[in-house]
Symmetry: C2
Subunit: 383 residues, 2 copies
Amino acid sequence: MRVLILGGDGYLGWPTAMHLSRRGHEVAVADNYFRRQACAALNCEPLIPVPDLHERARLWEAVSGHRLQVHIGDACDYDFLSRVFQGFQPEGTVHYAEQPSAPYSMMNREAAVFTLTNNLVSTANLVHAVAELAPGCQIVKLGTMGVYGTPNIDIEEGYLEVEHKGRRHRFLYPKEPGSLYHVTKAQDGDLLYFYSRIWGLRVTDLHQGPVYGVETEESGTDPRLATIFNYDHIFGTVLNRFLVQAVAGVPLTVYGKGGQTRGYLNLKDTLACVELALRNPAQPGQYRVFNQFTETFAVNDLAVRVQAAARELGLAVEVRHLPNPRREAEEHYYHPVHTGLRELGLQPHYLTPEVLKGMLELVSRHRAAIVTDRILPEVAWKK
Amino acid sequence: MRVLILGGDGYLGWPTAMHLSRRGHEVAVADNYFRRQACAALNCEPLIPVPDLHERARLWEAVSGHRLQVHIGDACDYDFLSRVFQGFQPEGTVHYAEQPSAPYSMMNREAAVFTLTNNLVSTANLVHAVAELAPGCQIVKLGTMGVYGTPNIDIEEGYLEVEHKGRRHRFLYPKEPGSLYHVTKAQDGDLLYFYSRIWGLRVTDLHQGPVYGVETEESGTDPRLATIFNYDHIFGTVLNRFLVQAVAGVPLTVYGKGGQTRGYLNLKDTLACVELALRNPAQPGQYRVFNQFTETFAVNDLAVRVQAAARELGLAVEVRHLPNPRREAEEHYYHPVHTGLRELGLQPHYLTPEVLKGMLELVSRHRAAIVTDRILPEVAWKK
């Protein structure tokens, strides 16, 4: 299958490109380097530098023999996107080309408006490119479990059958996103749901939990092929923050009570899920949703697990609770369904002590590069 | 109360400005003339020309003694919006500054992306202007009943209490919008719901049905003070189309089966609703929704009523069914709750034969200006 990856230089985009090309797909990657520029501007550089996308593609071809098409440009620029579509004629598109950080979206008005316009215009452009230039091309869009928030009922997989006053209706599952970023990820889904119904598009929305891990089967022994590892307060995840804090000898910082529970998954499983979605496409007119994670943890659970794994490596780790810069429930019901991808054949990798120790060892090898000033939260949700 | 009206030159914005200023409010109007420019560009001029906003304000001051502040500029331009906020210090803002046409949003990619960015960036800018420059200022945003679509259960007023697997949760009522325009009106509500919770904003979202009528108490005897009357396929409503077709002696065009049922209201009631919302503001942190209409009609009902009123004026009127250019249910359950505004004191005006005859007489006085080429649909939902 010819697969176009929008956001192909990102944390997920680059490993997806290698993964799909190794499995026989013809792959083109497009990226506008937003993440690189924002990391540089905000002093949020990843722990381990990675080459640019042309160089990554060159290295990957040298070790694997698979050639990737590389396009540097912006999916919000329809001239660019339509040139890529016309040249490559994708049969599937994986849409990662969105601003992916909740704190970034809450920094200030400019960042909020950028997040809104980037995430929605890129999606609207993609919809039109498919309808006009590549009819039948399926769209796999990265979503987030964060769109659901933490409702007091079970989170179903995309849709909710409601009984009300003796009548029934099946709705798209209502969303309660907790940051402007998460709002835009509900909104991009609304766009895709609408156009799939009107124009018969084939869409899969992967409502994914936070991902962990850097190395994949494809990154192999060349560290230049690994994906990025952000641990900062803008682009880092809570688990990456804990891993770096453990290695740096500073306390793990839990926001608030630490009962915030989310679904997590290994980077290797993200790659498998994307390929499963592509190989088992949505039907024409179908907006299909998968809840993409393999295990749920409260933040406190993650802290305890990192502490235990670090202890086995001889690192003494404290945990400290900070006032929560976000507005979110810190103790809540959380029961999301996630059977769709298992039914397609996903074989999960779990967050074992060995996985945590492997990541701690990776961070330890780059201990000298850690900038602890990048870690503590500087963006507050409340005005 | 100092009230800023964004979109103050529009079909609702201008009569709202007169109405509120006559009731003792200090009023500023801002508009970027999008609608005028689009009407000119698309050959969709209103039936009766109206003066520009500065001239309208001059005429209104001459007859009423009330001075309006006039600002020509774009709410998507934050420099402009923040200058208006700093100078006027509004205590309430009425947000009408959105692209209001479903067919416009479905014309092509450029119009879709314009609708998306205009409607969401104007809302995001407003939220930030209130939070940064006028804390406590309430926001009254024009929404649309169209965001709900036509679900098979009762449409509650904004929120839906769901019981699921023995547990309960109250969601914002799920939306099933039927055009890209309607999608953006659900999305602007998502933005306001989010920021009201995070920043304690006071927001009322008026989910309004199609409005009819031109004259109000304030437009009085000077036709230059009346609002615009669009009957074209882009900015016209179904009722306006029928009234013009009846006068022009061409058949009333019903799209599809004509069972499409919606909630309608008189322009005078829109003005009353907006003032009721302002005088009874939402609480800090509250995103309040009213379903704003007074009666429901199927399209076929409207055709029959226009036919009957026209007959009384000696006009013989035929009805013709066209293939539906939209994708929508043509026969469906429709039971929307609309008690909130009645509880605040709304005294409805209904769509009586006298009201219809009054509008037919108005159109008849401008019969020579009718351009029937503007009426038939040219924008199809399906690709």
